[in-house]
């Protein structure tokens, strides 16, 4: 049978289950053809079918149909990923997971919520706020990004330095594997376990290559009474990372910490420029701008803010950013997402070129060295530097999940190749500096060709894990183990 015949038969089988919630229409396939990753217009990446399941049983049936006709299954969530994780470049069935958007249980006694994996972080938090609760894993894409996407991509969180990433607050999940079986993985509502193998942890960052996540149980937290944000100017990036560790050693509970280089600050102060019609002023000596927030009871927050300022000024010669409007504008852009209506930083910044990043994770003492090499590597591959941000993604320690961002000219295939060459060389640098190639985007369709550099012989074990969950190789093929961009 030809592929077209398989697709037609799969469509007929799926129609019997999903009715109008399955389509082969080119228009709908087009709407599921892209995420946020840089690519040339010639990369069409149309799936063959799009299906909207509403529950785990329906996903099981869907995967069984895919197995019957050997068609790829690609889970689609927020569609804001930067690594091509949802690009159906091998065709197949696109699973629109946002139909799985129910709140299944809110357990107030155990501060736990069980949700369909397709609920967005924003919607979940709107619901939780009615109970004076919140879920602190919050990537900047939270208006569109779903819980399933956070699990699949192991993405970043604004509040990582206090609450960690999704895994810290995930207690169990349901995975429909490539075998067409639904299994619950994890530790029920407990926050830890010493039994068995940690299969739930394998799924975090698996990018749909082991199965489709359909449900998740999450630890939630009481909403803090108040939050304050301040900015500090420092002489170097390494100094900023050290200063942060010192603040934590002092016993301060920091709610979020982000360090920008001078250029990157521009990108995050869109709201400020829109509102006040001026550029942020940063003295020439300052090479790093560290934004810190504290949350909790007002007197504790006030004390923490004063103590932080004293340590940074007295021990590190830092200056507090005097213009609080600039800091508030940064926070609007990072967390509140309160852009002036009809004005927004994302489309405003992408008109000519496109945002792209290498997202390395590094040891905290290598930042200035990495920054210098970033500038050389970007220049070598003709990338316009947008700047560098250091995110802190693990609880109570200074860490370096870094966005080395550039503006990508996506008008030619050669430019796109240059961007991915830039990512490859930055990834090599990460391994040399004893770090990791990706700290929040994932392998997607970009790192697989050379991530043996990082994983070595363990990559073969990863292939075996993949084969265990997905023996037919239908779950999101073309990701994690290969790159489509470099020869």
């Amino acid at each position: 049978m030809s592929t077209d015949t398989y697709i037609q038969r799969a469509f007929e089988d799926l129609q019997a289950i999903f009715g109008e919630r399955v389509t082969v229409s080119p228009m709908h396939r087009m709407a599921y053809s892209r995420d946020w990753s840089p690519r040339h217009r010639s990369a069409q990446d149309l799936p063959d079918l799009v299906v909207i399941p509403h529950n785990t049983d329906e996903v099981v049936q869907l995967v069984q149909v895919a197995l019957r006709y050997n068609l790829p299954v690609v889970p689609f969530a927020g569609g804001t990923g930067m690594g091509g994780g949802v690009a159906a470049w091998r065709g197949g069935i696109m699973v629109e997971t946002k139909g799985l958007n129910q709140i299944l249980e809110l357990d107030l006694q155990n501060l736990s919520v069980t949700v369909g994996a397709g609920i967005t972080i924003w919607t979940l938090n709107e619901h939780l706020a009615r109970h004076n609760l919140w879920f602190p894993h919050q990537p900047e894409s939270k208006r569109a990004c779903t819980i399933g996407a956070c699990i699949g991509c192991d993405n970043d969180s604004t509040f990582g330095i206090r609450y960690g990433k999704i895994l810290e607050n995930l207690t169990n999940l349901v995975l429909v594997t490539g075998r067409g079986e639904a299994i619950r993985l994890g530790r029920r509502k407990a926050s830890f376990t010493s039994t068995g193998y940690k299969l739930m942890e394998l799924v975090v960052g698996s990018e749909g290559t082991l199965g489709v996540v359909t449900e998740a149980t999450l630890r939630v937290f009481p909403l803090p009474q108040t939050r304050q944000v301040r900015g500090y100017l420092l002489r170097s990036l390494n100094e900023g990372a050290k200063a942060l560790e010192r603040l934590l050693a002092a016993g301060l509970a920091i709610d979020s910490a982000h360090m920008n280089d001078r250029e990157r600050l521009h990108f995050y102060t869109h709201s400020y420029r829109e509102k006040y019609h001026r550029e942020p002023q940063v003295p020439d000596w300052a090479q790093a701008i560290l934004f810190i927030s504290w949350a909790g009871d007002p007197d504790v927050v006030d004390f923490s803010m004063d103590k932080t300022t004293r340590i940074l000024q007295e021990e590190y010669g830092a200056e507090m950013v005097r213009e609080q409007e600039m800091v508030d504008g940064w926070w609007d852009s990072k967390h509140r997402l309160e852009f002036i209506p009809f004005k927004q930083k994302w489309p405003d910044s992408q008109r000519v070129k496109k945002f792209g990043a290498a997202d390395l994770g590094l040891p905290i003492g290598r930042l200035d060295e990495a920054y210098a090499r970033f500038r050389e590597i970007a220049a070598k591959w003709h990338q316009d530097i947008l700047g560098m941000t250091v995110y802190n993604e693990a609880p109570n320690k200074s860490t370096a999940s870094i966005s080395f961002a550039v503006f990508v000219d996506d008008s030619t295939e050669e430019n796109i190749r240059n961007f991915y060459e830039y990512v490859r060389e930055m990834s090599q640098m990460a391994v040399e500096l004893e770090g990791t190639m990706s700290s929040y985007i994932g392998d997607g369709d970009r790192l697989g060709g050379f991530n043996i550099l990082e994983h070595g012989p363990s990559l073969e074990y990863m292939r075996q894990v993949k084969a265990l969950f997905d023996p037919a190789g239908i779950m999101n093929p073309g990701k994690k183990f290969e790159t489509r961009w470099l020869r």
Partner: protein, 358 residues
């Protein structure tokens, strides 16, 4: 003219959306909320528009149905920095040019262009006075509601003049006929010429935005004129807990958010806000001609808006738009069958008239 010409001025915006993909427009889009496919959200439509421009997609009936099911409510635009509503209107025009225009839309536009109004009128409403009041097609077909408005305006000391009027043509343009709209514009300019230099009071938010933006007329929603005189009015208190639904054109597009709320508070009503209000309010389901092409979808969207009201404990939804009131009322009626609770929908003019007494 090729079918894609209408989209070409927006190529830059379309590609900007395609390479951004932030998705801020998607989750609360009332149509996406019901239909579930990304295609119905603005960022999905932007990829479809790209497909048409690059020739990888061909216009067809399904695509036209999708475009016709947009409410043109502007929620996506409020979350964005692009010309979202204009692009979707251009998408409709592209599809209409290619021969795919909903028969119902075609019939409505033809009716407006032939007769000068959308709905049959029992008789044209006229009134002598000093300040021009433009009724629009919906109010012209509802003499009882017009009497209620006139009663309030009288009591507020306004002296409205209702002259000959023809349709503003919004429906003609919004359903993809820019040439027909040019004819409708020409006709209204002629008929309404005597009042072109005066401030014109209006009732329908959609007519108001069209008269302002497409004709350059000086318009003021009549409800704003009443709010300005609120201090002079003696109102009987109304005991209820209600929420206010911002009509898209009156709120998001004309910026009238506080005046209706001031009136509601002056009536002594306990006003509770829905999660999505003011600039980020969501459509009732009656925008963009959706009721004409897919009344079932319109009703589902209206039900969702009533669910929003229920979620904040409102027993009544108050609004001030001749499209929103009946659309929400339909939604409330249908939802009552599912949740066993009826949320009433009241027009602010009606409440005001009652509170102002004889």
């Amino acid at each position: 003219m090729t079918a894609q010409d209408a989209l070409k001025p927006y190529i830059d915006d379309i590609y900007t959306c395609n390479r951004t993909r932030c998705g801020f427009c998607r989750e609360e889009c009332p149509v996406y909320r019901v239909e579930g496919y990304e295609t119905y959200s603005c960022r999905g439509k932007m990829l479809v528009a790209r497909g048409l421009l690059e020739g990888t997609l061909q216009p067809d009936e399904e695509m036209a149905r999708m475009a016709d099911e947009c409410l043109l409510c502007g929620y996506c635009a409020a979350r964005c920095a692009l010309h979202n509503v204009e692009i979707i209107t251009a998408l409709r025009e592209t599809l209409a040019e290619a021969g795919f225009r909903a028969p119902k839309h075609q019939a409505n536009a033809a009716q407006i262009l032939a007769e000068g109004y959308l709905f049959p009128r029992t008789s044209a409403i006229r009134r002598k006075g000093t300040t021009p009041l433009y009724l629009g097609c919906l109010y012209q077909s509802k003499p009882a509601e017009v009497n209620t408005v006139l009663s309030v305006l009288d009591k507020a000391g306004l002296d409205p003049l209702i002259a000959d009027e023809v349709c503003c043509g919004y429906v003609v343009e919004a359903t993809g006929d820019s040439e027909g709209f040019a004819r409708a514009q020409e006709r209204l300019r002629q008929v309404y010429a005597p009042y072109a230099d005066q401030e014109i009071l209006t009732l329908c938010p959609t007519c108001t935005i069209t008269l302002r933006d497409k004709y350059g007329l000086r318009v003021k929603p009549a409800i704003v004129a009443v709010a300005e005189r609120l201090g002079d009015l003696r109102l009987e208190p109304v005991a209820m807990t209600a929420t206010y639904h911002d009509p898209c054109h009156l709120g998001r597009m004309l910026g009238v958010f506080e005046e209706p709320r001031q009136i509601i508070r002056a009536l002594g009503i306990n006003l509770v806000e829905m999660e999505h209000n003011r600039t980020f309010s969501t459509c009732c389901g009656g925008g963009g001609g959706v009721t004409a092409v897919n009344p079932k979808l319109s009703a589902e969207i209206a039900k969702n808006r009533i669910r929003d009201a229920l979620a904040v404990g409102a027993e009544t939804v108050i609004t001030v738009c001749p499209t929103c009131t009946p659309t929400l009322l339909r939604g409330a009626g249908r939802l009552a069958n599912e949740v066993d609770k009826f949320v009433d929908v009241l027009d602010l003019w009606q409440l005001l008239d009652k509170a102002l007494g004889a």
